[in-house]
């Protein structure tokens, strides 16, 4: 095959065995790439309804046909497992050299099952897998781990994906970090890796990725490189995603102080504009990316002088406005700590913001925090909480369980900001109603990058304050398109540069040699989303989980351009049912038999027969 390698590496760390399975053309065409492979392999390799920390929970890394080629912005990979946050689909994406190296080593996917007796790290060198002792790496940060493995193996070019102390301690939103700044962040997959006693996966590949039509692909890519340096990507090349701080603040959709407000008085101080002016030391690129957006910031003065880490909108938001912090030095330090300890920054910020509100409401006191004044805006408290969550000390031990589980001990259900147990991200969906639907039905819990529905609201294509029929179709289209991008893989920041899906299908042909119409490619995406739904249903999801945090529905935005906005129960019902209909699912959110047949998913029909099918859609 071209583009695809045609091989899956299957590793069992319990008995230290591995074998290489074939990934044939039929599988490649049916499941397209990273997202499809991940969902399909998880569905088939995980025993139903097991605990996420059970050794049988497979941790799956997947790449797509474009990765490792010169197709612009294609070095991305997916990570999948049952999520310890949601007990449903765990899915996260990262970028960088690691996935390119995995393909050069000769694999489209890596499945890790079992639990090692002692801490190990895997060293994948072409067709060989070594189970390396990692006792000396235990407790080390992700950055130290990477350096240490390079030194141990005596190979600077080895690529490492690792977990930090948070993953080792099963912090439920621990993440996997590669090349310092890149994270498979969401849904707690670092904790799953920790539960397997696997500290890191080091990869080295001497092989190559072959494509069907090298000459035509080269010409096409050189043309795309020029286009990607044009106006369609200027946002990412200049301010980068931190531009969103002021964009969202201006429209009153910047979640502030645990969604108590949607406008932050300190927004300018933490804006992309200030970052670029005073902090950004270098903008660098992922492999094969001609537009480069990786803004590396360096603190120039004060207590945290010298701290250097990649910055993006969401981390700044989560550890900044969300916790009432307007000091960039503090925020950048906290971002660095999350990278070092291996914690999803979005979940970390949301649980700390939640704890700050609990503190202000008296649900927790200085007795619980060890004397710390856990108030919104307290920089010292923020840094201290990041540390205590990562090491599960004191109150941090409760917060490390995620906001949903924390409410069972602390209370505060009314202002616990999560969907399906996964913490919210940086858009106040009370005034972005297409996005609100996207968040409610997202297969991996609260997230913006499974559908990108905020763009319909923010671009003015729809009335963002209004919930109406038709939004279901928009979210379906967004989800399908994003599943295609994540699968191939392509960075979503390129999305405005492509001349439609036709052009992407053309590049797919040049890479793989497979002629696929846009209809067929969209059908692949639809197949992935439906199989993810079946997976979630199998693991216990019901329509009642397709909901939004109580605060989004009960507490209107108090001030600013979106003052008075909320998503009422009636609006949510209308939106979710509209989405189900657009998906060809019944009113309980269960895919119809005919839909499954249409998508060639007949083998999974038994899943829906065993699924709860009663009750009216109520919220």
């Amino acid at each position: 095959m071209y583009g695809y390698i045609g091989r899956i590496l299957y590793v069992d760390v319990t008995d230290r065995s591995y074998n290489i399975m074939e990934l044939d053309e039929g599988f490649a065409r049916k499941w397209l790439g990273a997202t499809g492979f991940g969902i399909k392999l998880l569905m088939d390799h995980q025993e139903p309804r097991i605990d996420p920390f059970h050794p049988g929970n497979p941790l799956i890394f997947t790449v797509g046909p474009f990765a490792g080629t010169m197709v612009p912005c294609s070095s991305k990979f997916g990570v999948f497992a049952k999520s310890p946050l949601s007990n449903l689909l765990g899915e996260a994406y990262s970028s960088g050299f690691w996935c390119v190296e995995l393909k050069r080593a000769g694999y489209d996917a890596l499945i890790i099952k079992g639990r090692a007796e002692k801490p190990i790290y895997l060293y994948v060198e072409d067709e060989n897998v070594y189970f390396m002792d990692a006792s000396h790496l235990h407790g080390k940060t992700t950055w130290e781990t990477e350096e240490c493995i390079r030194r141990d193996l005596g190979d600077y070019e080895v690529k490492v994906a690792s977990i930090g102390p948070a993953g080792e301690r099963f912090v439920r939103f621990a993440c996997i970090i590669n090349e310092r700044y890149r994270a498979a962040g969401r849904t707690g997959l670092g904790a799953v890796m920790g539960s397997k006693n696997v500290k890191a996966i080091a990869v080295r590949g001497s092989g190559a990725v072959e494509v069907a039509d090298p000459e035509m692909l080269q010409n096409k890519c050189l043309e795309l490189y020029r286009r990607l340096q044009g106006p369609t990507t200027s946002k990412y090349r200049t301010l980068g995603t931190p531009a969103n701080v002021l964009i969202l603040n201006t429209v009153g959709a910047l979640p502030t102080r645990n969604y108590r407000e949607a406008v932050f008085e300190g927004a300018f101080q933490v804006s992309g504009e200030v970052l670029n002016e005073r902090y950004v030391a270098k903008i660098q690129a992922c492999p094969a990316c001609p537009m480069r957006c990786e803004h590396v910031a360096e603190v120039k003065d004060g207590e945290f002088k010298g701290v250097t880490v990649r910055v993006e909108y969401e981390p700044i938001w989560a550890l900044g406005p969300y916790c009432g912090i307007s000091d960039l030095n503090t925020i950048i330090k906290a971002i660095e700590l999350c990278n070092l300890y291996g914690m999803d920054i979005l979940s970390t910020g949301v649980v700390i913001g939640f704890a700050m509100e609990c503190f202000s409401k008296g649900l927790i006191s200085e007795k619980d925090t060890g004397g710390l004044k856990l108030e919104f805006g307290n920089s010292e408290a923020l840094i201290s909480m990041v540390e205590s969550i990562a090491f599960r000390e004191g109150l941090g031990d409760i917060l490390a369980e995620g906001v949903k589980r924390a409410t069972e001990i602390i209370g505060g259900v009314d202002f616990a900001m999560h969907v399906k147990g996964v913490e919210m991200t940086g858009y106040d969906v009370r005034s972005l109603k297409t996005a609100a639907l996207g968040y409610a039905v997202s297969r991996r819990g609260a997230h913006h990058q499974t559908h990108g529905a905020y763009s319909f609201d923010l671009s003015g294509k729809v009335d963002r304050f209004k919930a109406e029929k038709g939004r279901g179709r928009l979210v379906v289209e967004g989800e399908d398109l994003y599943a295609i991008y994540d699968s191939l893989p392509l960075c979503k920041f390129t999305r405005a540069a492509w001349r439609g899906l036709d052009e992407i299908a053309h590049v797919y042909k040049l890479v793989t040699g497979f002629q696929a119409s846009t209809t067929e490619i969209i059908k692949c995406a639809e197949r992935m989303v439906n199989l993810a739904r079946l997976y979630n249903l199998r693991e216990g999801l019901t329509w009642a989980d397709d909901t939004l945090p109580p605060r989004i529905m009960n507490d209107p935005i108090p001030e600013g351009p979106a003052k008075g906005s909320r998503v009422t129960h009636e609006e949510l019902k209308l939106l979710v049912l509209d989405y189900y209909e657009a998906r060809g699912w019944n009113k309980h959110g269960i895919p119809s038999t005919s839909k499954l047949s249409e998508l060639e998913l007949e083998e999974y029909l038994p899943v829906i027969r065993h699924t709860y099918n009663g009750g009216e859609f109520e919220v």
């Binding site: 050069r104 092989g207 190559a208 340096q229 030391a281 690129a285 492999p287 094969a288 360096e298």
Partner: protein, 153 residues
Amino acid sequence: MKKFKFAYCDPFKCVGCGICELVCSLKHEGRFSSSTSRIKAIRLYPYRNIALTCVMCEDPPCVKACPRDALKQADDGHIVVDGEKCVGCGLCVEACDFGVITLHPTKRVVLICDLCGGSPLCIEACPEDALTLTTHDLRAQLKRIVAADKLSR
């Protein structure tokens, strides 16, 4: 006087995307890999990036080091590898101060920049214009012009 042009990378412009490696391996081997690229992109944490390839030394140590006379310097300065004579012993790799000679991962032969016959594809493809075909003297000349401009104002 150093007269040979080579692909020079400005580390302040380089972003570490490695596109130079990808097009180099494509041009020479017809497939994408890093191990068969004649130019190497290097990232040093926290944020330094540069691509290195043959600098076309005068009186090149690699040529002198080859025990089988498999390497010769062409008129434009690039090192021609005689595939018949080269057995991939790696002594030229040792002799090169810049580490820009590498062993082919599967064949017993070394890989060295051949300037793509005069117009290197890496230079054409570099999205940041970080690569230029130049000599050290020409670079110094550019600096002199800037300095002269400032001094004479």
